[in-house]
Assembly symmetry: C2
Homo-oligomer: 159 residues x 2
DNA sequence: CCTTGACTTTGAGTATACTCAAAGGAGTAT
DNA sequence: ATACTCCTTTGAGTATACTCAAAGTCAAGG
């Protein structure tokens, strides 16, 4: 079973424009062409696209993704570079998840804050509540959210 | 205690250039100026910067962050918009964390794959291992990583 | 045969978020 | 007073990742 760029676009949710752009940038050397030059994606190519999407969603620039694909194309002599790249990216993603969890804590706190404010019609309501009155989870989220380098030396421990 | 743009830059790890850029874009209306026009950040402004960083790290465009700050400046009549914005962003971040965890599964699998390949000197080693031979955690990570719309109808359940 | 629609390429345009250069002002140190 | 460093502004330039327009090709259906 073979797929044209438009069919692939529909299935994976990346526009045909973008797929051609990736191809032009050298990210899709594995895609074959019909006699008349039309891109024919194989079933297996979806795995490549999935990997590219994964890396991209972790913030890896296209240039680095291409570097990996180039290494792949070279063959077994680039195994170590590829391994190192994945380890490096894994660390970055672990860091990103940690950071996003802090952001989520901030948002959890802000959602509570504005729920309380909307109910009272004024931000004074949540602002004037004394700290013990916060729900347990909210207080914990707030504490985690504000433990960072932006806050005075007192906070922002470890790291 | 007041801080100049350079001092703030050093403390929070955002360049002075970028802080001025944010100010120009209307993200820092709370920053006051000295008689001679120099930005003087107050201790409390670091909370603002932290919130901006949080939102930015979640992928919120500066334009939307400015929208929020504008709402804040208006006062209590915009409480609902602000609440809704935080709820919407919270959902986005929860989705991002889910996706990053899938990406992490992919990377965990790839790290194992290349560890195995590097040890043997060829990708054939991990490729030819039969599925039962994979470590439990690796098999699980791989299964989660490949459960998505890129794969044929068989996979990609729910959602 | 001709239309239709999806494919092709090249090159240009856009959006976002910086990032810097130039030219000048202000406050401190010697 | 002169240097030095950090501050100011405006406007331009850059990087990344698309996104589109134009002009042309190809295969199938009426």
């Amino acid at each position: 079973m073979l797929y044209t760029v438009g069919e692939v676009a529909e299935r994976v949710g990346i526009s045909a424009h973008t797929l051609r752009y990736y191809d032009r940038e050298g990210l899709l050397p594995f895609v074959e062409r019909s006699a008349s030059g039309i891109r024919m994606f194989k079933e297996h190519d979806f795995e490549w696209l999935h990997l590219i999407e994964c890396l991209k969603s972790s913030g890896m620039p296209l240039r680095e993704i291409k570097q990996f694909i180039d290494w792949y194309t070279v063959g077994d002599e680039t195994l170590e570079q590829r391994r190192d790249m994945f380890y490096a990216r894994k660390e970055i993603v672990e860091e990103q998840i940690k950071e996003l969890n802090k952001t989520l804590d901030m948002l959890t706190y802000k959602c509570w804050f504005y729920d309380t404010a909307v109910e009272a019609g004024t931000v004074d309501a949540p602002k004037q509540l004394n700290p013990e009155a916060l729900p347990e989870k909210i207080a914990a989220a707030k504490a985690r959210a504000f433990d960072n380098k932006f806050m005075r030396a007192s906070g922002g421990g470890k790291r």
